[in-house]
Amino acid sequence: MSPLGARTLGRSPSEVALDLALRHATYLIFLAVILYFGIQSPAFLAPESLGNVVKQASFIGIAAIGMTFVLLTGGIDLSVGSVMYLAPLIAGFAMEAFGLGVPAGLVVAVCAGAVLGAINALFIVRFDVIPFIVTLATLFLFRGFGTWLTSSRQFDFAPEMRAFGLSSVLGIPTPILVFAVVALAAHVVLSRTPFGRQIYALGNDAEGARKAGVRVGVVKGSVYVVSSASAALAGFVLIAQIGRLDAAFGEGREFDVIAAAVLGGASLFGGVGSAWGAVIGATLIQTVKLGLVFAGVNLYLQPIMQGLIIFVAVLADSLRQRRIAISRRRHIRPSA
């Protein structure tokens, strides 16, 4: 009531600073991680090193962007690791059989990924099987199909493949370009198109979305196609850098991909997340991993430190969200 009382409501500078810090916690942690490793090994701050980080993050990052679509609907896609393997493999066979060039191969890989995603979608949408089980089954099915095709042997691509993977346009490595294009496209789709907004609506309230006239089946199915196509592209771009596809490629990557998306703010319960978040999540994890390599940390300790840094990032994010929730609590009385 009293004007004096009102003035004491003004927050102290330290509180303001803390608030500011928490609001941008992810970026601050990012910065802190880069600086920390930069001090450990100044070479880490060289543009080439940081470029490498982004380039290597593109692999998990591209798939994580696709995964974000799925997570937004409250689903999950465990089959991405197998798609990363199978789709480029199919592309490889097609390239060999029809003498296709690398760009055509890339298209084949993405299409193959889309088809694999459509298989997931079929079971999830038409038959109502829960996504966890469907994609767990296809995780085995897809990899099994690949090992059956190859008898587990590696697949060697023509040398042009590597030329493509290691190429750069205007000094920017191709994988980074692909990553950027996918991120931008996903961002536009998610935030600017009817389809994107319907994904958010679906994740928020599936029944409500159905009532509102959203074609729930189509939207729900599409996200699995997007996820698999992204995983296929991610796999293809990475394989292009090596030129050889091993039978174990992509195994267990589903957890890395989901982790990157979740670290980027996506919720496993749907409705929350963004393409940009997936980019940040994947890049942050890769920064930590490569920073540890630069710093020359003992191999046995690297994963432990990696875990701790991710933990701190997630912790900061949780505190930030709590802070935001508190500040959003409605202020009835005019403050200050």
């Binding site: 290597q56 850098q241 090596i242 490569l290």
Partner: protein
């Protein structure tokens, strides 16, 4: 309701399909291996299955996917199926001991192939010493490096380490260190790069390591299957050069696969440690077949595969002793 029916039909069809896929046959030899993910294991797998099948035996395959527990269960399932003998590529020496004991307690003869049990006293054991073979290969690299470098210069070695959960990877790392430490005064602390036996991880980590330490004199990979990955990192940096060319990095690996053979021939790679895959496979098969014939339930025998390093220097004489070169000559890499 029609959809419900469709569902029922699909589910039944799938089950029946599975059923008919499993037409059971009288089994004779159970071949339980830990994984099938690199050329080495695939070649070994092929050698054993085709040889035995062609000789009229039945092979029951079990892939443990790098899970010792699963392997233990699989071997017990084999025993329950009443196989006559077991050929085992164990996940590691410790689980091998347990599995050998399990088989012998159930009166099934067992031969262990490639990865020796920690206790060599039981079972037919074909031994190859990963550490010793790795050491031989790195020894060659070290000699070459020291010969080429001006006296007093400190050299920087790098090792691409395998999955730390895999004892094979650890053995190879130990062999590498043993060779380097013989000349500790001439070498800087080796740079270790984790690969987790995964090409994508190796690519990322090696690239970072090479960016952080551009002056590498010697590179050893714990498995030959990573050479294509290494090429992708070194080539753009002008470090992928043939022997004799300016900027050649001395390079070695282990396994002796077809890619390594080709690269040694082309001059990019200098040495690789070789396990005599065909010798090992054959000895294991022969011994187990002999034991079955003789009705021996607990055969114990140690067969050693000394292994060797195929190097640029001995390429001429020993090429065809390396399984990878045999595969290469058969056109393996044309895919």
């Amino acid at each position: 309701m029609t959809r419900t029916k469709l569902l029922a039909a699909a589910a039944t069809a799938a089950l029946i399909g599975v059923g008919s896929a499993g037409g059971a046959q009288a089994a004779t030899i159970c071949f339980a291996f830990q994984d099938l993910e690199t050329e080495f294991w695939i070649a070994g797998h092929k050698a054993i299955t085709t040889t035995l099948t062609e000789a009229g035996h039945t092979v029951i395959e079990r892939n443990a996917n790098e899970d010792a527990n699963r392997q233990f269960e699989q071997v017990r399932d084999c025993i329950a199926q009443g196989v006559d003998g077991i050929i085992l590529i164990p996940q590691d020496g410790e689980s091998a001991v347990t599995i050998v004991a399990e088989a012998q307690d159930n009166d099934v003869p067992i031969a262990v192939f490639n990865r020796p049990p920690s206790d060599l006293s039981r079972g037919i054991v074909v031994v190859a010493d990963n550490a010793a073979i790795a050491e031989q290969a790195v020894d060659y690299l070290v000699e070459e490096a020291l010969a080429a470098a001006p006296a007093g210069e400190t050299l920087t070695p790098l090792i691409v380490v395998g999955d730390l959960g895999d004892p094979n990877a650890v053995g190879r790392k130990e062999g590498f260190y043993a060779a380097i430490e013989k000349h500790a005064d001439r070498f800087a602390t080796p740079i270790e790069v984790a690969s987790e036996w995964d090409a994508a991880t190796a690519l990322a980590n090696l690239e970072a390591a090479v960016t952080a330490n551009p002056d590498i004199d010697l590179l050893f990979t714990s498995s030959d299957f990573l050479f294509p990955t290494i090429r992708s990192v070194l080539e753009p940096r002008g470090m992928w050069k043939r022997r004799g060319e300016e900027g050649h990095v001395l390079m070695g690996g282990l396994d002796g696969d077809a890619t390594a053979c080709q690269l040694i021939k082309e001059g990019y790679v200098d040495a690789t440690g070789v396990q005599d895959l065909y010798f090992e496979a054959e000895s294991a098969m022969d011994a187990i077949l002999a034991a079955i014939e003789a009705g021996e339930a607990q055969p114990n025998q140690v067969i050693e595969d000394p292994g060797f390093a195929l190097t640029a220097a001995n390429l001429g004489e020993r090429e065809m002793d390396m399984w990878g070169c045999v595969l290469l000559s058969e056109g393996f890499l044309r895919n």
